[in-house]
Symmetry: C2
């Protein structure tokens, strides 16, 4: 079964240890020691969970055919044994962003902010899965949850990637962002 | 409160009488005599409900700035007293559509199929609200629910509108479609 929906649970249990949580913009999330990832929805809140965030993978919103081919050729899968570092970065964009037309959003996203171009520079070092939340319901706390995995030797590169994106015009529309860094627990 | 999520209930009760239900493609829906529309989710299935369909309004996916201005200038609101006819048209698109890149989908949607251009020809006669379902969850039966309202004198125009869209290249990607026609019940 090809799952599109994922639930991220922050609390006392999970396959990933929270190394740090940094609130970049907007309201923080309660701190958590561990993070677990469940395919689909979960009917019962895990014991000790401080928060649950849900997101669903979906069709591409901005990439062109050529950009998609470049991404597909370079992007690694999740779960590489050496990728023992991860980041979960929930973000929300403001109402101005969502009221823009598609061509205006694409112009800011890529022609001005180089979101895809920047991301390509960090492939195949950084694996990524984007989850959409905004259209799961009316009261979702975030619009996107992006999950990243990388080897410890690529942590500096990952820091540079997020710094470049945060300096972009696109990020002037981000009104809530939490940067959660994780390390895989020994099996 | 500005509701984005709506639930459509087909069954024995509701403000709209079902005039006919026609399965254009894919599996049919059980027949229903009445249709009701609820803002948000509903916690209890209405008595006699045969089906519930949920959808959420969202940001524009294809329109450009200029097209959006034309639409905003011409499109009427829902609930006009003379608009006693309505249609609910749930559709699903196939996996090939969703695997296309954004520029490929836009090319088919507008440059080839003239979806926005065709719709503009029927404004302000036909009022419309588009609801997205695909990213509400993993097991939604449809990708979109479009709700239309028009006066009885514009029914022929509405039939022409849907015929033009169904003849387009975009519609070769539609693998399920139900055309539900309705008349407002006297208050």
């Amino acid at each position: 079964m090809n799952t599109r929906l994922f639930t991220f649970s922050g609390g006392e249990a999970g396959a990933w240890r929270v190394v740090r949580m940094e609130t970049i913009a907007g309201d923080p999330l309660p701190s958590a020691a561990k993070l677990d990832i469940f395919p689909g929805s979960i009917s019962q809140q895990p014991h000790g969970a401080k928060w649950l965030l849900r997101g669903i993978t979906s069709n591409d919103r901005y990439v062109t055919h050529d950009e998609k081919n470049q991404l597909v050729a370079k992007q690694p899968g999740l779960g590489r044994p050496e990728a023992t570092c991860a980041a979960l970065i929930p973000i929300r964009k403001n109402a101005s962003w969502w009221s823009l037309s598609q061509d205006e959003r694409r112009m800011i996203f890529e022609e001005q902010s180089k979101h895809i171009h920047i991301g390509l520079q960090y492939l195949p070092a950084i694996a990524r899965r984007l989850h959409h939340c905004r259209d799961l319901g009316e009261s979702e706390p975030f619009d996107f949850l992006t999950w990243f995995e990388f080897a410890p030797s690529n942590e500096a590169a990952f820091n540079k990637l997020v710094a470049e994106l945060r300096a972009s015009r696109e990020w002037t529309y981000v009104d809530r962002e939490i940067d959660i860094r994780l390390a895989r627990e020994p099996a």
